[in-house]
């Protein structure tokens, strides 16, 4: 099935970091009046990056040439209202989008240190209407695009206000935008977050996805075939991620009216997540000393993947197997990086073969969780076929999973100055794209990250990202069982006193319109009758 990639914003179908755009700037605006708002959007529209496939060899100004910096735009409910979208249309937007992230805190588990009272000032004191992201290859390209946009703001004569109030390093609390970037090691950008885990591995693969067809392995929905091959997977329906297309329920998703406003658009979650690096390292050091497998295996059991290589622990259960894999992966990546201007076929194939192994698995040979614990992060956020509990009981193994997938488009932010401390300003700008924020992002956050019943784990939470609480003595109450092997003599290991490693520092829900809808919004021609 083909979709009109020229009509779809590029950030929906492309994770820019994988296309050599390692840095981003997220800027937020407030619309003071409708006319200025529409004029601003009209000025932005020609700058917006679409989903058309890029040709690296195209001439710099060709339509399919990768731009020096990308630009994408999205709106909150209040933003759409300020642009004059008629009430009849506004009333067709989903409840959670209308409410916004702050009012959904009880659903999302944003309590204690994650409570909106502690969020960056921009999310507390102002009303965010509009989000613009600029992803770039280097800071200069980002700055150039930022200046172009700032010029449009100046032209609005006060009709558009760029909102400041982002916290930054050095205790600043009033930065004018949020910066984000891949983390660099020896001058090379790494797909890694501040706890040291390799990130950005699991990416849903749907009908309109681009990239190597092997990405369906582990990225699509499970069939009853061999998970190590393409036969074990099928692409998800496009409607899980883009409105107006068929979804996994064999219908077009519930969407705002008129249809042309929603078609080729989607919803986005923006969330600034602080990482308590000091607490995390201390826990690994302390508990890792008593854990028979040691600190690195403990970190792997938390996530379901080895920190340094990203190799799935269910497939590479021992240090030795993981290290061999990591060595091969590093070689393949170094070669690909060295040949990045004109990579050879062999270099690409060697890398794809290893990359595929990182995703080519399910949990059917690990039902009791002795390799990958039942409560490990990746097993929670994408259980693959595991909710069948090995019984081949459902219509399809992914029956309870296929409609809970999200596209992740975020980047790390900040730098860790002292890895024994929690303070500072560093973490992940989590960006999720999905057709339904409540069915996809919120469900995963509530039921699979902050709760455990679907995995038969009572109230246990995700060890890494769960909102672990404290008892009456302010001692952390997070817990996790690392299941042992009941047929061998390997005992379960009990992790207790897990503190909250990740805290929410702000965010909101956004609507990403198609290019067509963007023109309708800027011209004020949205009419649901």
């Amino acid at each position: 099935m083909s979709i009109d990639l020229q009509d779809i914003q590029g950030n929906i179908v492309k994770g820019y970091a994988q296309y050599d755009y390692p840095k981003a700037r997220y800027v937020f605006y407030h619309i003071r009046n409708e006319v200025a708002g529409r004029a601003f959007v009209k000025g932005i529209a020609p700058l917006v990056t679409t989903g058309i496939p890029w040709n690296k060899k195209a001439k710099p100004n060709a339509a399919d040439a990768p731009p020096p910096a990308t630009t994408n735009i999205a709106f909150t409910y209040m933003g759409l209202k300020m642009l004059g979208v008629p009430r009849k249309s506004l009333q067709t937007f989903p409840e959670e989008f209308v409410m916004g992230m702050k009012l959904r805190k009880d659903i999302l588990g944003d309590d204690g240190p994650s409570d909106p009272r502690h969020w960056d000032r921009i999310w507390r004191d102002t009303s965010v209407h509009l989000w613009i992201s600029i992803n770039g290859r280097d800071p200069a390209s980002i700055e150039t695009r930022y200046q172009e946009i700032s010029h449009l703001v100046a032209e609005s004569d006060g009709g558009i206000i760029q909102l400041s109030g982002h916290h930054g390093p050095d205790g600043s609390t009033d930065l004018p935008y949020q910066s984000a970037s891949l983390i660099y090691k020896n001058g090379i950008p790494q797909a890694r977050e501040h706890f040291g885990y390799r990130d950005g591995i699991g990416e849903p693969y749907f009908m309109a996805s681009s990239g190597h067809p092997n990405r369906v392995i582990g990225g699509g929905k499970p069939t009853r075939g061999d998970p190590a091959t393409r036969k074990g997977w099928e692409p998800l329906e496009t409607g899980e991620f883009i409105l107006g297309h068929r979804d996994e329920a064999f219908e077009t998703p519930i969407a705002p009216q008129p249809p042309l406003l929603a078609f080729n658009g989607t919803f986005m979650v923006y969330r600034k997540l602080h990482e308590n690096v000091g607490s995390f390292n201390r826990y690994l050091d302390t508990v890792g000393e008593n854990y028979p497998g040691g600190k690195e295996l403990l970190a792997a059991k938390f996530s379901g993947r080895w920190r340094s290589s990203g190799a799935p622990v269910t497939r590479f259960p021992t240090n030795a197997t993981a290290e061999t894999f990591e060595f091969q992966l590093n070689e393949a990546e170094a070669r690909l990086y060295a040949e990045r201007e004109n990579p050879s076929k062999e270099a690409k194939e060697a890398y794809v073969a290893l990359r595929t192994q990182m995703a080519a698995f399910d949990y059917n040979h690990d039902l009791e969780g002795s390799r990958c614990p039942l409560g490990a992060h990746i097993r929670r956020i994408n259980p693959r076929g595991a909710l069948e509990h090995g019984k081949e009981a459902f219509n399809t193994p992914g029956a309870l999973t296929n409609r809970r997938r999200i596209l992740r488009r975020g980047l790390p932010y900040g730098e860790v100055a002292d890895d024994s401390r929690d303070d500072g300003d560093h973490g992940i700008i989590f960006i999720a794209i999905n057709a339904s924020i409540s069915r996809q992002f919120e469900f995963v956050q509530q039921q699979w990250i902050n709760y455990g019943n679907d995995f038969k784990l009572a109230n246990d939470k995700d060890p890494l990202t769960g909102n672990h609480g404290v008892d009456s003595n302010q001692q952390p109450t997070g817990r996790m069982i690392l299941q042992g092997n009941s047929t061998a003599t390997e005992n379960p290991f009990f992790c207790a006193g897990i503190p909250r490693f990740v805290e929410t520092r702000g965010g909101d829900y956004f609507f990403i319109p198609s290019l067509t809808a963007l023109h309708m919004l800027s011209n004020g021609t949205v009419d649901p009758t």
Partner: protein, 220 residues
Amino acid sequence: MSNIAGKAYAMNVVTPAKWYWVWVNKLFFWFVQLPGGAAYLKGLLTLSLIHYARWAIVSPKEFPHLDESQPKEKLKYSYMFFFSNFNGSWDQYVDSFHAAIPQGLDLFWFKNVKYPKSVPLQPFHAYITYNQIWTSHYYSAYPLATSNDIKSARHLTRELRAFSESSARADPLEFHEAYQRLLRDVQQDISIMERTPIVSLSAQAVEQRLDQADAERADQ
């Protein structure tokens, strides 16, 4: 009035069916209760969020007529009563049925009036919503327990009792080994029950108002 108590949701759905079709549904329900028929319920039984689900078909003349003061009714249809208690939200439950056992649902509700089939989802949602009877009173004695928790607790109790009997006179080494074995046997059954996540903001608001009213009454 709420369909939610603790971690459980109570759903009642009453759907009409033409009397001359319900023998098919009855045949199907009879069949799945045969020893070999359970295989057809595997999907339903694997949906671990369900406390229980029950279907009952009532023909027009089976409706009770209590005494003369009750007006006589002329019923045109047989009715299928579906009752279920489950953990999680309405959406999670209905969507799980729809995705996991669509063919099974279409047999259960075979030929029920205006049953749209379980796939696609939006008409199925509308059908269930239209025919659902809200619960006027719902009480949960164990508001922290899900169906999975209860199963785990029962297994844990059984194993622990057996262990304490069998190991009562074990020497330290035997005891140690038996204890380790016990741990491995019950590793899927140990956790802590806490309050439910808030699956519905409106249900949460109702609960808070009722708690507030209770507190005020207690003050008086």
